[in-house]
Amino acid sequence: MLRFILRRTLQIIPTLLVVVLIIFVIFSVVPGSFISSLMSEGRNATNADVMAHLNQQFGLDKPLLVRLGDYLWGLAQFDLGISYRTREPVWNVIEPRLWPSIKLALAAMFFAAIIGIPLGFIAALKPGSMIDSGTMMLAISGLSLPEFWFGLLLMYVFALQLGWLPSFGYQADSIRHIILPAIALGVSPMALLARTTRAGVLDVMNADFVRTARAKGLSEPRLVRGHVARNVLVLVLTTLGLQVGSLMGQAIVIEKLFSWPGIGSLLVDSVAARDIPVVQGAVIVIVLWFLVINMLVDVAYAAIDPRIKVT
């Protein structure tokens, strides 16, 4: 098992390298620069000397390949560089955003799972019925609204009209603050999970071993508990993992809307400010999160499914 984790960890490196390269290439041709973003407010022209000095300070006057080399060399030493914008080490900029981001992703996934999986189950138990149609329609409806639109709707209803929940912000120790953004972010994975679960349950219910279990005279609840649930979980796990893994990157819009201090909003701000080291750093974190979660999913598979050998 350890060896498996080690190997998967090593496999992350090339993926990460390609990601870094892609981002680097894209942002080397992107119009606008960190310097020009300094005067984006259109108020005061920034001193030209200051700009030149800044360019020099951040090595932006060096050729592209040298910059890439420098960056990769730094990366190899776990150094993400210095943020153009804040002039702090990139890690210091990213680190405070990490926990809120993870929290939001997990909370959204929790919401998606506790709603989506039962919905899928309910739909699959009576395939073709109105219940099936209804639940699936509900699930799809959830993801048919643009995120920010859905988020605004939640704000209006639950914060303004009903006054149940705060409309924005992050509080380290408050569950109330996370509910609305988590729901807004969780709808789309919820719909996906409901679908996957439905398909999975249908699949498993049609499996030969369920027929065997029926032939053994098991009651339906025992059948579902003992033979269906785990097998469905195996089918749903991939979706679950991919979703948790990608939620950090998908949270951009929601984070902006709810003033949630996550990696996503940092990323958008940094793209807008052309703070490339932070963009790189944030993307690396998002990608790492994805890869690590998927590694954990694989480990979980090994724990659940004896057919999968982990070597």
Binding site: P31, G32, S33, F34, S36, S37, L38, M39, S40, E41, G42, R43, N44, A45, T46, N47, A48, D49, V50, H53, L54, Q56, Q57, R85, T86, R87, E88, N92, V93, P96, R97, P100, L152, M155, Y156, A159, L160, G163, P166, S167, F168, G169, Y170, A172, E255, K256, L257, F258, S259, W260, P261, G262, S265, L266, D269, A272, A273, R274
Partner: protein
């Protein structure tokens, strides 16, 4: 250059309405939940490292500069100095510093001032605040590397500093800047970004990056009896619609309003009495690049000014949260000509002018614009049908805000729509249209007009404020006639506040920047603010 001290003293706030009862005696204690509306994050807690207003909103609570802007009087005034003596030649100023304490307990002395200004001017540090230092004698030598230190800065004794400047202008205009605060020389520089140490009325308690800054009253603040508040939270909220919900929900105490909300709040009985509005010194405009041949013709530029019904746009799109522009200088400027009339909406005249200029048909151009609702793509969308009625085809060239200035400075545009500072220092901002001012400085439309140049030169050498204002008024009128840009509007900044909040000031420089030490909340504040 001549001093313009006092010239702006008459800066009129004209339309600013202050509905607050300022007569009540401030009470101490409680918490204010303020908002920083220009994004979901701040760049740095060290204001010297950033040029963003968003950061200034926070810095205003943490730091103090030698001077400060007095929004009510419309001029700079001493802040960290008790008194100043001006030399006879008007170029050397001797400051007697106040007794003040930094958040870490250090006492303010002359070395702190010297250290702070040297640091700002240091070219190796490339700090945006360096711009504020340029007036001090010896800075250019220092920056060029020919001098080890700034010759214009002298310590007389522990509490006395002498500053020599290069011209007759009041250094207060530069040294009041929030980007040029006084830091403690004994405090580790690399800590400034995360653990700021200033002289301001509040000190950092908790910073949640990307979310909020929690500040607490600094007990040793140098102004007696201030600040009134015990706590100050600054929420970083860039989304206007989210801010709207939060304000209506009572989660935040102040809200900078956009046009739509301005209208909505004004119509809402519960909200309309607690609105603070001020004419800000920004002029929104569409700049015509003379590299497009048609724009070299004055008649074309005027025609466009005639063709657009800006009153309607201001009314409908900006919901009257702006003042239709007459020329470049804003209404609050002393050089503003109260008798001048803005370009009227006159499509017929416009057509005529275009015909004369030979552009009856076939004129088309694109407007480089950011998504900004008040001076971006939506405005361009509104002028498209208007200009199409006079036969001018307009397309949008939407860009991110980071790209706009890039495109302008590299002369890569046909026209742009932007919001530019136009005050309070009228000469400084009219000089932007001086033919010798480069495009990368601020003559974005490469304006060149001998008559205008002459007036600006004349104004620069005029020492009598009243006369100077007169000349500038003329120059401003020339500008209107020449129409190097489409004069759109002057911004009206609007802030809504909860009824229990007192002490907010109509700051025409930037309404979102408030003197926190003067704000207080009354007994009607909800429990969460106590």
């Amino acid at each position: 250059m001549l001093t313009r001290l006092g010239l702006i003293a008459a800066l009129s706030l004209g339309t600013a309405t202050i509905a607050m009862a300022q007569d009540a005696t401030p009470t101490d204690g409680g918490k204010l939940v303020f908002t920083a509306p220009y994004g979901n994050s701040i760049t740095s807690l060290d204001i010297t490292a950033t040029p963003h207003t968003q950061d200034e909103i926070v810095a205003k609570a943490l730091n103090r500069s030698l001077y400060k802007w007095n929004p009510e009087k419309g001029q700079p005034e001493l802040d960290l100095a008790e008194s100043v003596e001006k030399s006879d030649d008007g170029k050397t100023y001797t400051y007697k510093l106040k007794e003040a304490t930094f958040h870490n307990g250090d006492k303010l002395d002359a070395d702190d001032v010297l250290w702070s200004y040297n640091r700002l001017a240091d070219p190796k540090k490339a700090l945006p605040g360096a711009e504020q230092m340029l007036q001090i004698a010896g800075v250019s030598e220092f920056q060029a590397g020919t001098a080890d230190q700034i010759s214009g800065l002298k310590k007389i004794d522990d509490m006395t500093v002498e500053i020599t400047v290069t011209n007759l202008a009041d250094p207060g205009w530069n040294l009041m800047s929030n980007y040029a605060p006084i830091y403690s020389k004994d405090y580790a520089e690399d800590q400034l970004a995360s653990k700021p140490n200033g002289l301001g009325p509040f000190k950092m308690a908790n910073y949640v990056a990307g979310s909020k800054i929690e500040l607490v009253k600094f007990e040793d603040y140098f102004e007696e009896g201030k600040p009134h508040l015990d706590k100050l939270d600054i929420m970083l909220m860039g989304e206007a619609s989210a801010r709207d919900v939060a304000f209506r929900n009572g989660e935040i105490d102040v809200n900078i309003l956009g046009p739509v909300q301005y209208e909505a709040y004004g119509q809402d009985d519960a909200l309309k009495d607690n609105i603070l509005e001020v004419a800000e010194v920004y002029t929104r405009n569409i700049g015509f690049n003379p590299k497009v041949e048609a724009f070299q013709d004055k008649r074309v530029r005027q025609a466009i000014n005639y063709a657009i019904n800006k009153d309607l746009i201001v009314e409908k799109l900006l919901k009257n949260k702006a003042y239709p522009a007459v020329s470049w200088l804003p209404v609050s400027s002393p050089a503003f000509d109260r008798n001048a009339e803005p370009y009227a909406y006159d499509p017929e005249k416009s057509k005529e002018l275009l015909k004369e200029a030979g552009y009856e048909t076939g004129l088309s151009f694109s407007v480089t614009a950011t998504p900004n609702e008040s001076w971006g793509v939506p405005i361009v969308e509104a002028i498209i049908p208007m200009l199409s009625k006079v036969g001018v085809q307009v397309t949008t060239d939407p860009v991110e805000s980071a790209v706009l200035s890039d495109k302008i400075l590299s002369d890569n545009f046909e026209t742009f729509i932007w919001s530019n500072s136009s005050g309070p220092d009228a000469l400084k901002y009219l000089t932007c249209f001086y033919s010798k001012t480069s495009q990368t400085a601020c003559n974005y439309v490469k304006f060149s007009n001998p008559e205008f140049d002459k007036l600006v030169e004349q104004a620069g050498s005029e020492t009598d404020p009243a006369k100077q204002a007169d000349i500038l008024r003329q120059a401003n009128n020339v500008l209107q006639e020449e129409a190097p840009v489409w004069f759109f509007n002057y911004n009206k900044a609007v802030m809504a506040y909860q009824p229990w909040v007192h002490g907010l000031k109509p700051n025409s420089m930037e309404l979102a920047i408030q003197d926190y030490e003067d704000i207080w909340i009354d007994a009607d504040a909800p429990a969460s603010r106590k």
